[in-house]
């Protein structure tokens, strides 16, 4: 009798424990969301405020009373901002294309064709991924300068692959290695050559991995900050990140509305990619440690 009571008691406590846990979960998530989303939300509020409202110390800074698009109009009418945008687009697209060609070819070779030193090279690729850009920017400054590519977007196209290629190769090795060997055997029996095998089998089958790697390369090149800060000082060659930080922030009176509008517009492409391809984005993020 007493044991039965004990079990009922236990069941009741389990249910209340579960409800309590759920309540704690939702409270934590709500608080975290408010803190995590407050800075971008405040950037948006600032970008929509009039200058008079921003200077008004009496009101609540988080409230938007007279929304205006004047800062967006001003920033989009600013020719240098459009130059920054174009530079970012150009550099990012070139780097993504270069990265994907280099890493798909290399990952295919490393995952499927064992050759002398291939294991060593795969480990080396992973180690290069762990070398931060802040360790390399001074020697690269000398090297890029020696090639006459300082103050040029081409210099950035040359050095950005150090940020993207190692990780993309690493996760592509993981994706390619997970493709069953029976598929290549069947293709070889049918007389397929290695390039045919790569294009007709590996790329289509590993497409989710390729999308994840492309997203990674895109977001990293778009957000790169150390290299453009070090290598580019003329505004007309700057990509968005350093352009917004160095050219819009100047003088004693900050045009906060324009700065925030510019920063939000600059952050838009990666956020849009994330919004539409969230699952691939997260797959790429977690692949480094869970795959490979």
């Amino acid at each position: 009798m007493s044991t039965a009571e004990g079990i009922y008691h236990k069941a009741g406590s389990l249910r209340s424990e579960r409800r309590w846990a759920l309540w704690v979960s939702y409270t934590s998530l709500i608080i975290a969301s408010i803190i995590f989303l407050a800075p971008p939300a405040y950037m948006l509020i600032t970008s929509l405020k009039t200058n008079a409202d921003m200077a008004n110390l009496a009101g609540n800074p988080w409230l938007l009373t007279n929304p205006t698009l004047e800062h967006y109009g001003a920033i989009l009418g600013n020719p240098i901002f459009l130059v920054f945008f174009w530079n970012s687009v150009k550099v990012t697209l070139l780097v993504v294309a270069l990265t994907m060609v280099i890493s798909i070819l290399a990952a295919f070779a490393l995952a499927r064709m064992r050759f002398w030193g291939s294991q060593f090279l795969a480990t080396g690729v992973f180690l290069t991924y762990l070398v931060p850009d802040t360790l390399l920017f001074i020697p690269l400054y000398q090297i890029v300068g020696g090639l006459g590519l300082l103050n040029s977007t081409w210099g950035l196209v040359l050095v950005y692959p150090t940020l993207t290629v190692p990780f993309c190769t690493w996760i592509m090795i993981g994706y390619f290695a997970s493709i069953p060997k029976e598929l290549d055997e069947a293709a070889l029996i049918d007389g397929a050559t290695w390039p045919q095998m790569l294009i007709k089998i590996f790329i289509p089958v590993a497409l989710p991995g390729i999308i994840a790697a492309t997203i990674f390369a895109f977001t990293v090149s778009w957000a790169a900050f150390v290299y453009p800060t070090a290598f580019v000082t003329t505004p007309d060659q700057m990509p968005l990140t350093i352009g917004v930080v160095s050219q819009l922030v100047r003088g004693d009176t900050f045009a906060w509305g324009q700065i925030m509008a510019g920063a939000l517009l600059a952050a838009l492409p990666p956020v849009v990619v994330y919004a539409f391809l969230m699952d691939y984005y997260i797959a790429g993020l977690t692949a480094g440690a869970t795959k490979g």
Binding site: S33, F36, A106, A109, T128, I138, P161, T219, A263
Partner: protein
């Protein structure tokens, strides 16, 4: 080539020449493979290995870069108070920020794991946003929130009757601000990694533990943590490297100030090497990061290979 072909055709039915064909195929395969990895080798060798070696050479030159100076740059740095402040600040920044990111990420991953699966996607999508915005740009937003006159954070604090905080003006508050922004940016990454790890723990283990009457703390200590140990260590070490070598947040938020008290290795190397034009000394500053990074990298590599072996 033609002679080889005829040999192949004639010898095809007997086993011995077939082996030689296979051998040739293998040899050809490895040369194709080498060609395919050539661009990768060029990037790794030309843009990572060579610059790393070149940095060591640069750090041993004199300021005008026309004579060899041995370890002079290192000696000057070791006797420099600002440099030791940079070392201390980098370590403090990396350790505190990574610890907070790991704890917050672990907590949030658990909370996400507890709620019904249907709602998880929506919350996860929202909570990852800080990680998606390029940090240089979101830090601009923080900078404006820390603005001494118009600080919107101080306004919120004032609602709770907390006195205004001089966020970027006082050295200690500036250090805390830099850490706050880094934690805000990095905690979502930890959350995503730990959530993926939590989802890979087999449900049967928890069921078995529940039957044995394990409490939730016991389940955490005896099932969840051991199963996640590898991912936790890889993520923490990886984040230690990235945080230790961080540049953008400090550059945008404080630019090393007030009075050079918030510089980390990367911003100090930038200031010395690029802005003041002393390339060799700047290279020496950034090379001081190398020992710590090498230790972290060694343990990450060990963790990753261990994990691969476990999963294979």
């Amino acid at each position: 080539m033609a002679a080889d072909g005829t040999v192949d055709l004639r010898g095809a039915p007997t086993p011995a020449p077939r082996a030689s064909t296979l051998q040739r195929l293998a040899r050809r395969r490895s040369s194709i493979a080498f060609l395919m990895t050539l661009p990768l080798i060029a990037v790794v060798a030309g843009l990572v290995v060579y610059p790393a070696g070149y940095a060591i050479y640069l750090s041993m030159l004199n300021r005008r870069m026309d004579a060899f100076a041995g370890f002079l740059n290192y000696e000057i740095l070791i006797e420099n108070d600002t440099f030791w402040m940079v070392v201390w600040q980098s370590c403090f920044f990396a350790v505190v920020a990574v610890l907070l990111k790991a704890l917050i990420g672990f907590w949030l991953a658990h909370m996400l794991h507890h709620i019904p699966t249907k709602g998880q996607r929506k919350w996860r999508g929202m909570l990852l946003i800080p990680w998606v915005i390029p940090p240089a740009l979101s830090t601009l937003g923080w900078w404006w929130m820390f603005d001494p006159t118009y600080s919107s954070i101080n306004w919120v604090l004032a609602v709770f009757a907390v006195p205004a905080v001089p966020w970027l003006g006082e050295p200690w508050w500036a250090r805390i601000s830099v850490i706050m922004v880094n934690v805000w940016y990095g905690a979502p990454f930890f959350m995503i990694m730990y959530l993926a790890a939590l989802k890979s723990v087999p449900e049967q283990l928890y069921e078995a533990a529940a039957i044995d009457g394990a409490s939730s703390t016991q389940r955490l200590i005896h099932i969840t943590l051991p199963m996640m140990r590898n991912i936790i260590s890889i993520t923490v070490l990886f984040s230690l490297i990235v945080t230790f070598a961080n540049y953008d947040i400090v550059r945008v938020l404080t630019n090393g100030g007030p009075r050079d008290l918030t510089h980390v290795f990367a911003t100090y190397a930038f200031q010395v090497g690029i802005l003041s034009g002393n390339i060799p000394r700047g290279a020496a500053v950034s090379l001081f990061m190398l020992p710590a990074l090498a230790v972290f990298a060694f343990f990450i590599l060990r963790g990753v290979t261990q994990r691969n072996r476990e999963m294979a």
